[in-house]
């Protein structure tokens, strides 16, 4: 079979400057880069050159549905989004749940590549029959919720799916994200700002096509088999019951709760007890939400009836929100957490990075570096959620101190000076949201992440459950004799390497990480995904070949980062604070990231990849093994290919 069947078949290109629209076949890239994130990344690599800046019209903003998006494969509901990031100057990449990915495929396109800049604000209206640039002037300044509703009403079609930006994206806020379904975000990397720089308020898709499998019955047999796996897993059951915010106490007891801008990684248990999942369920939850083919339906719906935030109804939140708007800012008022989560969605702000830069400002205020004179009279006192809400608004509209915070804490600290740099915790220029001093493998995964931090590009969740993992499972899954405790560096580089490739696969298929061995070793592994992929596309591959594709995708991201941002070994080290200040309280008190441990883990990590230890750069032989000769040539021309000797 020449072409993978599970494909809309076409990539849509739109130049907003000239208005030119054209298509090309998806097949050109499918065999090497699968789909979703993989093909997006290659289109980014090929189309955006190192001398182009993130806000140049020439930067590409690329939406990609996965090969299995829109099918019955579990959680086949995600789309990826990539561009050169205005935060890191390197790979900007993320993906999101919601119905956008499915609708995009039904409208006839696997990927939508946008370049150029519209003269006036526009939104794209895409169906199987036409691609239209429509006037978005009435929408400029509107929130994502207003935009979503307005476009659907204008189209007279509630099934249209909208990916849009809020005021933050329009104002080129570096923590701006892209929102679909009012609550589903492609958060990190400032991709909403790239969209704003193109004067593109939204993309709306409405499809009437269908998605066909190469071997329909075989595909459904595979679906049944993997659904059974998801049904039997206790960890999957926990998601069904609680969503991602399920068991905060063990994480706090492992000292993985960022407190007051990382002054500690263990939160006051009395405060924690006020905000346990039971409280949200009992007093605020009014329902559940699931997206296409999702057997986990982890999303919760909330309603606030009393207090300053009464009247709010919304979908959300995730575990990240607990770190972002509880412990990080020391807020112990339950409705505030829901409200701040929603405000971020409405303004189109990534809540992870936004809460980080606000926490940085709070600590600067605490230390006397920032004063009321700088903040427009606001007192930045830990726990004051109303001040946080006001700062989010100021960031979204770049008003007063918000104009500084909108740059992210690394840049903001260079504007503020006065020693404020000391309180910044960034990775590759992007605010880092995870507490990590107590778990070395988790830390390594976050720090080497190709998208500038984040825990979905290599970070593992299994070291916290190390006691429950039998040696034979560790050997079979990760090729290590056992999973060592979080404080140990042993075998952690192997875990990171495994998850980097797995996550590239899952993102390229358009599925959710919670279906995979990332969430639990008894869930879907590369072999499971290969069986689904083969039945869907007719291209017969096994788990090993899929892992190789994952490695290839990861290597393209790495090369993009080296070429565009000049990243090397020093950019894979943790924030200084985590290497100098130990955890102050809790069971992991005294833990920090020691340089000599990190040196050793990085050496192992680079060796596993076949990258040079001294620079962290790639070697030609490894790139050629992955079929990336032209990437090796590009790196060589730039003088950033690891030397042979």
């Amino acid at each position: 079979m020449d072409r993978p069947v599970s494909s809309a078949g076409r990539i849509l290109h739109i130049d907003l400057t000239s208005g030119k629209i054209w298509t090309e076949p998806t097949d050109t890239y499918s065999a090497k880069f699968i789909g979703g994130r993989g093909i997006d990344l290659w289109l980014l690599y090929k189309g955006v050159k190192p001398w182009m800046t993130p806000f140049d019209p020439a930067n590409r903003l690329i939406f990609g549905s996965g090969v299995l998006t829109g099918t019955m494969a579990p959680c086949a509901t995600r789309y990826s989004l990539e561009a050169k990031s205005p935060v890191t100057g390197a790979t900007g990449s993320g993906n999101s749940c919601g119905f956008f990915g499915q609708e995009m495929r039904l409208s006839g396109y696997d990927h939508i590549v946008i370049q150029g800049k519209a003269r006036v604000p526009v939104y794209l209206w895409i169906t199987n029959e036409k691609v239209e640039l429509r006037n978005a002037s009435p929408l400029w300044g509107k929130t994502t919720w207003e935009t979503d509703q307005w476009i659907k009403e204008e189209a007279g079609d509630k099934r249209a799916q909208v990916a849009c930006i809020g005021p933050s994206g329009e104002n080129l806020v570096k923590t701006a994200c892209v929102i679909t379904n009012r609550a589903r975000a492609v958060g990190k990397c400032g991709l909403g700002a790239v969209m704003g720089a193109k004067n593109l308020k939204a993309i709306a898709v409405r499809g009437t096509g269908s998605i066909e499998m190469a071997y329909a019955e075989r595909f459904m047999d595979e679906v049944d088999r993997v659904l059974e796996k998801l049904k039997r897993s206790d960890r999957a059951e926990s998601l069904r019951k609680w969503g991602t915010y399920g068991r905060p106490i063990p994480l706090n007891e492992s000292c993985l709760f960022p407190v007051r801008n990382f002054q500690d990684d263990h939160w006051d248990p009395d405060k924690m007890n006020k905000l346990l999942p039971d409280v949200y369920r009992k007093d605020y939850e009014v329902g559940r939400r699931g997206y296409l083919s999702c057997p986990l339906y982890c999303s919760h719906l909330y309603k606030i009836d009393e207090g300053p935030y009464a009247g709010l109804t919304c979908e959300g939140f995730e575990f990240n929100t607990v770190w972002n708007f509880m412990s990080r800012l020391d807020i112990d008022y339950v409705p505030a957490v829901i409200k701040l989560h929603s405000l971020c969605n409405e303004y189109g702000l990534d809540q992870d990075s936004s809460s980080c830069v606000i926490a940085w400002a709070f600590e600067c205020f605490e230390k006397g570096i920032l004063t009321e004179k700088d903040t427009g009279g606001l007192k930045l006192k830990w726990g004051d959620h109303e001040v946080v809400a006001e700062l989010l608004r100021k960031m979204a509209f770049r008003e007063g101190i918000g104009n500084v915070l909108a740059e992210g804490s690394q840049k903001a600290s260079t504007l503020v000076g006065k020693g404020s740099e000391r309180y910044v915790t960034h990775l590759k220029g992007q605010d880092s949201m995870e507490a990590m001093r107590a778990a070395k493998g988790w830390a390594l995964g976050c720090c080497v992440s190709t998208r500038g931090g984040g825990h979905t590009r290599g970070a593992n969740l299994v070291e916290l459950a190390h006691k429950a993992i039998p040696p034979e499972v560790a050997q079979k899954t990760w090729g290590i004799p056992g999973v060592a405790e979080p404080s140990s560096c042993e075998g952690k580089a192997q875990l990171v390497t495994y998850y980097e490739r797995l996550q590239a696969i899952v993102d390229s298929l358009g599925l959710c990480l919670f279906t995979s061995t990332w969430w639990s070793p008894d869930l879907l592994d590369p072999e499971d995904y290969a069986r689904l992929y083969s039945a869907a596309t007719g291209r017969e591959i096994d788990g090993k070949e899929l892992v190789l594709a994952g490695e290839r995708i990861h290597n393209v991201e790495k090369a993009f980062n080296v070429l565009h941002a000049g990243f090397c070994r020093q950019d894979d080290y943790p924030p200084k604070r985590f290497m100098e200040e130990p955890v102050k309280s809790g069971p992991a008190r005294g833990e920090f990231l020691r340089r000599k441990d990190w040196d050793r883990m990085l050496d192992e990590y680079y060796e596993l990849h076949g990258w040079e230890k001294k620079t962290g750069w790639q070697e030609r032989s490894q790139l050629e093994r992955l079929g990336l000769e032209e990437v090796a040539d590009d790196l060589e021309r730039a003088g950033r290919l690891a030397p042979l000797f």
């Binding site: 099918t71 079609d157 269908s210 329909a216 999702c294 986990l296």
Partner: protein, 96 residues
């Protein structure tokens, strides 16, 4: 006469039933031909489900009539609903 009974309080709005249904009819994943359609109820966070007992034609699709998954061991919307919100009534004595 409907073959299906839906518990809207349980429904999480995932629309998996739509594509399971289209698979039954044509072995493809295609919401526009499904015999049921999931939408938002006027009052948040409610969900609405329309069951198409007869084939309909419109600009955006042509929903095929529900045949209670004739030829399948059971209704696929029931089988794949993650929360058990859809129940197939007896094929012989269906009640709405």
């Amino acid at each position: 006469m409907s073959h299906l009974k839906v518990d809207l309080d349980r429904c999480v709005g995932c629309k998996t039933c739509e594509i399971a249904c289209s698979y039954h009819h044509r072995k493809v994943f295609d919401p526009k031909i499904a015999s049921l359609e999931v939408g938002e109820a006027p009052e948040w966070p409610g969900v609405s489900i329309i069951l198409y007992e007869e084939q309909t034609g419109s600009e955006m699709g042509s929903h095929l009539s529900c045949d209670a998954c004739e030829g399948e061991p059971g209704a696929l919307c029931t089988k794949y609903c993650p929360v058990g919100a859809i129940q197939l009534q007896s094929r012989r004595s269906c009640r709405g």
